[in-house]
C-alpha cells in the first residue's frame, strides 16, 4: 500500500471518529449514541414484499449505501415512529440510497402484509421490506445485535452503511430523519466507497 493511501485512510479514520463523537454529543438525549461495527451478515434467503426470494447479502452488497432498521407491522408505538422517520428521509436522500426494513415478526408479516404496510407508510421504490422464515429473521437480528427474544422487547435502532466495504454505524434510540441524514452525509464525505489506490 502506498504512503499516500495509508495517509488517506488514516485521515479518513480520524475524521470518521470525529464525526462519530460529534453525533454522539450533539444530541441532548443519550439515545442518539452511535457506534461503528462490522457485522457478519449470515447468508440467508429472505422474501421481499414484492414476493421475490432473495439472498439478503446480495441485496445489501449491491454497492448502494444502506440505511436499515428492524420492525414489525403490528407494532404499536416504536415502529410507526421509525417508519415515519424513514418516510421523511426518502425524498431527501440521494437516488441510490437503499432503505431496508426487516421484519422481526416474519410469520405474521407475510409479503402481502408488508406490501400493505409499505403503502400505508408511503414507501417509495428505494425502500424495501423483507420477511422470511423466523430462523432467518432471528439470524439477522443476532448478526446486528438487536435480538431481544421477543418482538415486544425491540429497541429503536438504525443502521447506516455508506458502502459494502465500510463498517456499519449503529444509532441507538429514535434517531430523527435530520440526524440520520446528517450522519449519512458526513459518513459519505469521510469514508465513502474506496477510491482506487494510487499506483
Amino acid at each position: 500500500m502506498s504512503r499516500t493511501s495509508i495517509m488517506r485512510r488514516l485521515a479518513r479514520g480520524v475524521l470518521a471518529l470525529l464525526v462519530a463523537g460529534q453525533v454522539a454529543s450533539s444530541r441532548a438525549e443519550p439515545s442518539g449514541q452511535s457506534t461503528r461495527a462490522r457485522y457478519q451478515i449470515p447468508d440467508v434467503t429472505l422474501v421481499r414484499a414484492d414476493g421475490a426470494r432473495v439472498r439478503f447479502r446480495r441485496e445489501l452488497d449491491d454497492g448502494r449505501p444502506v440505511i436499515l432498521n428492524f420492525l414489525f407491522t403490528t407494532c404499536s408505538a416504536v415502529c410507526p415512529l421509525m417508519s415515519q422517520t424513514f418516510a421523511q428521509l426518502q425524498p431527501r436522500l440521494d437516488e441510490n440510497v437503499h432503505l431496508v426494513s426487516i421484519s422481526i415478526d416474519p410469520e405474521h408479516d407475510t409479503p402481502s402484509r408488508l406490501k400493505d404496510y409499505a403503502e400505508k407508510v408511503g414507501a417509495g421504490p428505494r425502500w424495501s421490506f423483507y420477511t422470511g422464515t423466523l430462523e432467518a429473521s432471528i439470524a439477522l437480528q443476532r448478526a446486528f445485535g438487536v435480538y431481544r427474544g421477543n418482538k415486544m422487547n425491540h429497541d429503536p435502532l438504525t443502521f447506516v452503511r455508506v458502502a459494502p466495504d465500510q463498517p456499519w454505524v449503529r444509532i441507538e434510540g429514535f434517531a430523527r430523519a435530520d440526524a440520520i441524514l446528517a450522519r449519512y452525509r458526513r459518513l459519505l464525505a469521510a469514508g465513502g466507497p474506496e477510491a482506487p489506490s494510487a499506483p
Binding site: S76, A77, L81, Q84, H108, G149, P156
Partner: protein
C-alpha cells in the same frame, strides 16, 4: 458507558414507579369508589360514543380526523388515535425500553397515599407490565386543565415534557374535555363475571360436536379448574393471614358450560340469555367442528373475550378485537395446500368434500387461493360418502393430478373399500384428527396431510409435560389436539389472569395475550405461539407430512414449514 448509565437510570426508575403501580393495584373497592367521587360527571351514552371514536379511531365529534404533531411530522386520523399506543384498555404497553404509561381513569386521578413499604412482591414479577410501572416518579393527579395541557402541549401534570413518542394534539377545549372524561371512566367498572371471590368463565359447545370430543375438552377444563382452585384456596388463606391486604386477588374459577342447540342463527340469542343468567368474564376455550362465526359475533357485540377455542373453521375475518385463536384451522391447511400445489404443479387439483361446513369452507379457500393460477381446480361434492360415490369421484384421476380430500376421521374407514388413486391424496390433519391412524394401509403410500402443528417427533418433549399432567389427573389420552388445546388455553388464561392482578378488565386481558411469545414454554402440539398488537391467530404455519420413518407409520415432513 452512556448506554450502561442510561440502563441503570431506567432500572431505578422502574423500581420507583413499580412502587407507585403497587399502590394502585392495591386499591380496595371501597377506596376506589371514594376516589372516583371526585371524577368528572359521567358521559351520556351518545357522548361516550363520540369520545370513544376519538380514542379508538381518531375521529373528532365533528367527523374531521384527529390531528397531532409527532416527532417526525403530522399524524392524522387512526395513526393519531390514542388506542394506537395506550391500547383499548388504556393500560398502556411496554415496548422495548419504552413505557407507554397507563391512562385509564384512576391512573390519572388518584392521589398517591400509600407508601412504598406496602410493595407486594407479586408486582415485581411482571417486569413488562406497564400498569405496574407506568406512573412516573414525580406524579401528581391530573385535572381537566392538565389533561388538556398534556394532550395539546405535551406537558405532564408535574410540568415535565413527554418523550418523542407522545404527539401534541390539535384539540379544542370541548373535545379535550370529552376525551378527558372518556379516560376518567376507562377501566372504572369491574366487568360482570368478576366478584371478589370468583372469576366466572364459560365454555361454549356447539351442537355439531361429537360427544367424545366434547367430553375430552370438558374433562380437561374441569380438572384444570379443580387443581387451580385447590391451590388458590391455600394462597387466599395465606394472603388474608399474612399480607393483610384485600385478599381479592386469588379468585376461584367457576366454569359454566354453555351448550348451544338448534341452528347457528339462533345461537347469539342463546348466548345472550346465558350471559344474562350468569355473566362471565370470558369464554374459556370452547369447541365447534362446524361454524363458530355466531360465537365470535356474540363476543364482538358484548365485548367478551373468546379465548382460544378448539374450532376447525374459525371465522376468516380477524378484525374483531375479542376473539383469539390457536390457528386458522382448515383455512390455514387450505393455504398450505394451495402453496404446495402451486409448487408441485399437478395438472389438476380435485377436491372431494361432503356436506360438512368446515370442509366446504376449506375447499372454497383452496379454490380462491389457486384462482387465476396455472393449476386447474375442481370441487366434487359427495352427497353421501360411500365406496361407490368415492370410486366414481376418483375414476378419472391420473398420476398427473392431485387429490385433496376434506374428510373427517370417521369417514376414513370408507376408503378401505376403494383402491387409492394413482396420485397424491392430501388430507386435513384437523379434520382427520387422531383417527388418521385408521387410514387403510393401502392408502398410506399416496397420503399426504396438511399439518398445522409441530411434527410429532419434535414436539415429544413439549407434549410429554401435558401427558404427565393428564396421567396425574387420571385422564386417558383420547384426543390429543382437543385435550392439549384445552390444557394450553387454561394455562395461558391462568398465566395472564395472574399477571394482570386486580386489573381484571377484559380488554387488558386480551392485550396481555398479545404479548404471548413464540418461545412460550408450553406450546403443546404447536410449533410456536406468537401474537402481537391486533394479531388474533397465534400459530401461523404448518407442514405437509406423509407416512414414513422406519415403520412407515410415523408422520414425517414432506415439506418445509410453510406460512401461507
Amino acid at each position: 458507558m452512556i448506554r450502561r448509565a442510561r440502563v441503570s437510570v431506567v432500572l431505578s426508575g422502574l423500581l420507583l414507579v413499580t412502587l407507585a403501580g403497587a399502590v394502585v393495584a392495591h386499591w380496595s373497592p371501597r377506596e376506589r369508589e371514594r376516589a372516583h367521587a371526585a371524577d368528572p360527571p359521567a358521559l351520556t351514552a351518545d357522548a361516550l360514543k363520540l369520545a370513544e371514536r376519538i380514542y379508538r379511531q381518531g375521529i373528532l365529534p365533528s367527523g374531521a380526523p384527529l390531528r397531532a404533531v409527532g416527532a417526525e411530522g403530522e399524524l392524522v386520523g387512526a395513526a393519531a388515535a390514542c388506542v394506537q399506543c395506550h391500547r383499548r384498555s388504556g393500560m398502556g404497553l411496554f415496548e422495548g425500553n419504552r413505557i407507554i404509561p397507563p391512562i385509564a381513569g384512576r391512573y390519572l386521578q388518584q392521589p398517591r397515599t400509600r407508601g412504598p413499604d406496602e410493595l407486594d412482591a407479586r408486582h415485581t414479577r411482571g417486569p413488562d407490565l406497564a400498569h405496574a410501572i407506568g406512573r412516573s416518579r414525580a406524579w401528581a393527579p391530573y385535572t381537566q386543565a392538565s389533561v388538556r395541557r398534556a394532550l395539546t402541549e405535551g406537558i405532564d401534570a408535574t410540568g415535565r415534557r413527554f418523550d418523542a413518542l407522545m404527539p401534541r394534539y390539535a384539540l379544542d377545549e370541548h373535545d379535550a374535555r370529552l376525551l378527558g372524561a372518556y379516560l376518567a371512566q376507562l377501566g372504572a367498572e369491574r366487568p360482570a363475571g368478576v366478584t371478589p371471590d370468583t372469576l366466572h368463565f364459560a365454555t361454549v359447545v356447539t351442537p355439531d360436536v361429537p360427544p367424545a370430543k366434547r367430553a375430552a375438552l370438558l374433562d380437561v377444563l374441569a380438572a384444570f379448574c379443580e387443581v387451580r382452585n385447590a391451590g388458590r384456596r391455600l394462597d387466599k388463606l395465606r394472603e388474608r393471614r399474612y399480607a393483610g391486604s384485600s385478599g381479592s386477588t386469588y379468585r376461584e374459577w367457576q366454569l359454566h358450560v354453555w351448550e348451544l342447540t338448534g341452528p347457528p342463527e339462533t345461537w347469539p340469542a342463546q348466548l345472550d340469555a346465558a350471559m344474562q343468567r350468569q355473566p362471565v368474564f370470558a369464554l374459556l376455550s370452547g369447541i365447534a367442528t362446524e361454524t363458530w362465526a355466531p360465537v365470535q359475533q356474540f363476543c364482538a357485540q358484548r365485548g367478551v373475550p373468546c379465548w382460544f377455542p378448539t374450532v376447525d373453521l374459525p371465522p376468516t375475518s380477524h378484525d374483531d378485537f375479542y376473539s383469539i385463536y390457536f390457528s386458522d384451522g382448515v383455512t390455514l391447511e387450505a393455504g398450505i395446500l394451495a402453496r404446495i400445489v402451486s409448487e408441485r404443479r399437478p395438472r389438476r387439483v380435485i377436491q372431494l368434500r361432503g356436506q360438512d361446513v368446515a370442509a366446504a369452507g376449506a375447499a372454497q379457500a383452496v379454490t380462491r387461493a389457486l384462482g387465476g393460477g396455472p393449476v386447474a381446480s375442481e370441487v366434487r361434492v359427495l352427497d353421501t360418502l360411500s365406496p361407490s360415490s368415492l370410486r366414481r369421484a376418483l375414476a378419472d384421476v391420473t398420476g398427473a393430478d392431485a387429490v385433496v380430500a376434506w374428510l373427517r376421521g370417521g369417514d376414513l374407514a370408507t376408503l378401505g373399500a376403494v383402491p387409492p388413486p394413482p396420485a397424491p391424496v392430501y388430507f386435513s390433519a384437523t379434520l382427520a384428527g387422531d383417527e388418521r391412524a385408521r387410514l387403510p394401509s393401502a392408502w398410506k403410500g399416496v397420503t399426504r396431510l396438511a399439518y398445522p402443528f409441530e411434527l410429532p417427533a419434535r414436539r415429544r418433549a413439549n407434549v410429554s409435560r401435558f401427558e404427565t399432567w393428564l396421567q396425574t389427573r387420571g385422564l386417558p389420552r383420547v384426543d390429543e389436539r382437543v385435550q392439549a388445546e384445552a390444557y394450553l388455553t387454561s394455562m395461558l388464561m391462568a398465566e395472564k389472569v395472574d399477571e394482570i392482578l386486580e386489573e381484571l378488565q377484559r380488554e387488558y386481558l386480551l392485550e396481555r395475550a398479545e404479548g404471548i411469545l413464540a418461545t412460550h414454554a408450553t406450546t403443546a402440539i404447536y410449533r410456536g405461539l406468537s401474537l402481537g398488537p391486533g394479531q388474533r391467530v397465534a400459530s401461523k404455519g404448518g407442514y405437509v407430512v406423509r407416512f414414513g420413518g422406519s415403520d412407515g407409520e410415523s408422520l414425517v415432513a414432506d415439506s418445509d414449514w410453510i406460512v401461507p
